[in-house]
Each structure stands twice: as structure tokens, then as C-alpha cells.
């Protein structure tokens, strides 16, 4: 289980997170929502170690991760799909996927077939460079790549961005399948409300760097939650 306990995060002088606490239990899908610029990505950066926190604690399965480098978190089982895809532009699709071999045991250094089942386009484009793919294809590659590391918790930042509707449905199904079959924890940042509502076991809403609402997915439709999501 991932626990984020009362963290602050600063960019220079500007504070992006203020005392944020969330938990993401194993075998559950936890969803974070919020308007643009409220700090969702910053929260995920704190979890994956891409940005230092200035206060608070981040623990995963009883290991305190504060101060731990991202690669060590990846070795603990934190898999990350960042906003903006960030595929390696000059590596081929195949090499992008293989870059996920780093934290896994030798016997697991292969690309699981499910990934290709989920995103068939990747299989047909193994030799193409990541940077040449279309936006949506890159997004698929980014998800596939994270799965290669066999994560125990999958952290996704707006994974549906730029993806065609049919594949969004597939991704939804895949996330559920991953939760149910492997029991991994899933921490999902989303704007796409319907997608969240359908998938999430538990939701948080952020505003101005703080958690302003939490509850089961159904509570998303309360007026109080709505207020935080409209302009």
C-alpha cells in the first residue's frame, strides 16, 4: 500500500502541494482529480521521486521512500506513466519497452504478451523510433513500457490523453484486469470524469495544492465534488 502523509512540495518559492495525504491500497484503483494546475502531477512526482518533497512522508509497503532516487523506487515496484508520454524518442519501440528490464530479475527480461494483446499497434511498430509515433501511439507505448517493469503499483498521469475512444475502453479494461489479476495498486490521475467514475474504487479531488474531497467513486456526483471540478 502506498501512503502519502501530509506532504509539501515547492518549485523554488512557489508551493505546489500543501499537506497532501492519500493512500492507494493494493488491489484497488485510486483516482485523483482536479482542474489544471492544482498539483496532480506534482503529487505523482512526489510519489515517483522525480521531485523532492519539503515535508511529509511517502511510504510504500512499509518502506519509507523519502529521499529515495526514482530508480530505487522503480526497483521497489513503482511503475510510472508520465503526463506527456516521455517515451525515449530515438529508441525504437522495442528498445523503449526493453528499457523497462532494468529493475526486473533476469528471468523476467521479456516483454509480456499481454502488452501486445492490449496495444496491438506496438507489435506492428517494433522497429519504429518512439519519437516518430503519433501522440496516441506514444501514450500506448508509455503504458506498455511501465508494465514491462512488473510494477506493484502503477502510477498513471492522464493516460487517456490523446487516445482514441476504443483504446480508452481497452485501457480501462486493462487497468481493471491488472488490479484483479495481479492485485497491484493503481494510482490514477484523470480529468476524464466518466473514465474515473467507471474505474475508481476511491477518489480524491485536489484544488490549489490540497486535497479537498475524498470518498468512493460514487461521491463524484455530489454537488460538493462537482464544485471543485468546474471552473
Amino acid at each position: 500500500m502506498l501512503t502519502v502523509d501530509n506532504i509539501n512540495l515547492h518549485y523554488g518559492a512557489a508551493q505546489a502541494l500543501r499537506g497532501v495525504s492519500i493512500t492507494a491500497p493494493m488491489g484497488k484503483i485510486t483516482c485523483v482529480l482536479g482542474r489544471n494546475g492544482v498539483g496532480k502531477t506534482s503529487l505523482l512526482r512526489a510519489v515517483t521521486g522525480q521531485h523532492a518533497t519539503s515535508a511529509g512522508k511517502v511510504t510504500f509497503n512499509d518502506t519509507i521512500m523519502n529521499g529515495m532516487a526514482p530508480y530505487n523506487r522503480a526497483r521497489l515496484g513503482v511503475g510510472f506513466v508520465p503526463q506527456g508520454r516521455e517515451v525515449f524518442p530515438l529508441l525504437t519501440v522495442k528498445e523503449n519497452l526493453e528499457s523497462g528490464f532494468a529493475p526486473v530479475a533476469r528471468k523476467d527480461r521479456f516483454v509480456p504478451e499481454e502488452i501486445f494483446a492490449l496495444f496491438p499497434i506496438l507489435k506492428s511498430m517494433l522497429g519504429r523510433r518512439g519519437g516518430d509515433l503519433s501522440g496516441g501511439q506514444q501514450q500506448q507505448l508509455a503504458i506498455g513500457r511501465a508494465l514491462v517493469t512488473r510494477p506493484k503499483i502503477l502510477v498513471l498521469d492522464e493516460p487517456t490523453e490523446g487516445i482514441q475512444p476504443s483504446i480508452i475502453k481497452d485501457i480501462g479494461r486493462a487497468i481493471q484486469y491488472l488490479r484483479d489479476s495481479t492485485g497491484m495498486a493503481i494510482l490514477l490521475v484523470e480529468q476524464y470524469l466518466d473514465f474515473c467514475r467507471e474505474l475508481a474504487d476511491h477518489v480524491y479531488i485536489m484544488d490549489r495544492g490540497e486535497i479537498v474531497h475524498e470518498g468512493p467513486a460514487e461521491t463524484l456526483d455530489t454537488p460538493e465534488a462537482r464544485r471543485h471540478l468546474t471552473v
Binding site: 489544471n36 503519433s134 501522440g135 482514441q164 476504443s166 480529468q191 470524469l193 471540478l229
Partner: protein, 250 residues
Amino acid sequence: MDQKITNSLLYLDGVSVSFDGFKALNSLSFVVAPGELRAIIGPNGAGKTTMMDIITGKTRPDTGTVYFDGQIDLTKKDEADIAQLGIGRKFQKPTVFESHTVWDNIELALNRKRGVFATLFYTLTPADKARIEEILETVRMTARKDHLAGSLSHGQKQWLEIGMLLAQEPKLLLVDEPVAGMTDAETTETAILLKEIAKTRSVVVVEHDMGFIRDLGVKVTCLAEGSVLAEGSIDFVSNDPKVIENYLGR
């Protein structure tokens, strides 16, 4: 045929382009009338962004014709020419000038003379100032006008880029996935904004958000594998079995 060219604002015919043997556009034909708002959907990798690259001069087609505003052959022009002709673009991945403030980003985009000396001797007139303020208001960035664009969040950059597009006052706007990463409420706002804009100019918008497309309520073109798969009203297109098969899914 000629008639069709002259009556259209943008006219693509038989456009093909391939990368290392992969055909990204396959004899694509596509026409936008003056004052038209057109939505484009299509599977990932269908060639939507590539089409915009062709129109804006970033990529040269292997074959095919691209005309703008009557007889202007866009394949002979470069990016700056095309922008000056009045074609503005918002990129799929938001690109802004990170070390300029939000205000300067808009100011640079403003549709004024763009020569070396014109910019060297440019002074900000009250009219220009008012215009910039108006745009900032529209994209709700007034409070952040002095922030460096590099410090904006992903969605904020999207908005800034829309603002820059407005400042350009183009005849034709090409908008690549404007609502990606926006909340539902903002998506609705954006639809309203685009419809407003389309009253005075033509807009081509690429999106995967079907709700948004529906909000726009305009003619929809669905691309697949580099050419047009279906074209018509949103209901017509979304009921097309090929579109469902290739794009919407079941």
C-alpha cells in the same frame, strides 16, 4: 474542380506522404470552406497531425496538391510564409516560449508586421494592449500574465497556446487536441470558444473527446490509415460501422 479550389479556403487533393516506406497519408483529399468549423477524428496514427504538418509547411507531401484561399499553393511555401498567409496552429504537445512571460507569449503571437525592422521599432499601442488583455481574459490567464510560461502546468500551457492562436487572428485555425488534459467543464468552455471563433474564420479541430465533438455539432471527418474513412454529421459518422470498428470500439 477549379471551382472547388476557388470556393474553398483549404483544399487538399491526393496528398500522400510516407516515412521510410510507411504511408502516413494515403491520397488524402479534404476541403474546408470559408467560415467552416470542421472536426476531425480518427484512430491514433491515422495521420491527423501529419495532415496539419503538411498544411503548415512542416512536412512536404510526396504527391498531391494543397491550396489555400483560392490559388495559393502551400507546398511551395515555408512555415513562416504560411503563418503569414493566415494559418495558425496549436500543437498536439503544447509548445510555448518557456522563458517568456505569458504576456510576452501573446504579444509575440499578435498579428502585426513581422519583419526585422518592424519588430525592432515596434511599440505597444493602447489598442494592442487592450487586445492582449482581452485574450488573457478569454483564456483566463490574466492573473498569471507575468509568470514565465515554463512554470505553467500542462493544461495551463494548452490554454496559453489557444490564446496565442487567437492573437494570431488567422483565417484558418488548426487545433490539434485542444481539450486533452482539460476538465469536463473546461472542455465545454473550449467548445463554446471555438464556435465563437468560427463565426469569423475557419477552424479545423482534431479531437478524440467525442463529447466535445458532439458539443461542437459540426461536420465530422474521420480519417483512418491516411485517408478519409467517413464524413458527415456526428451521428452519421459515429454510426458508421467502419468508424465503430476502427475508432470508437464497442
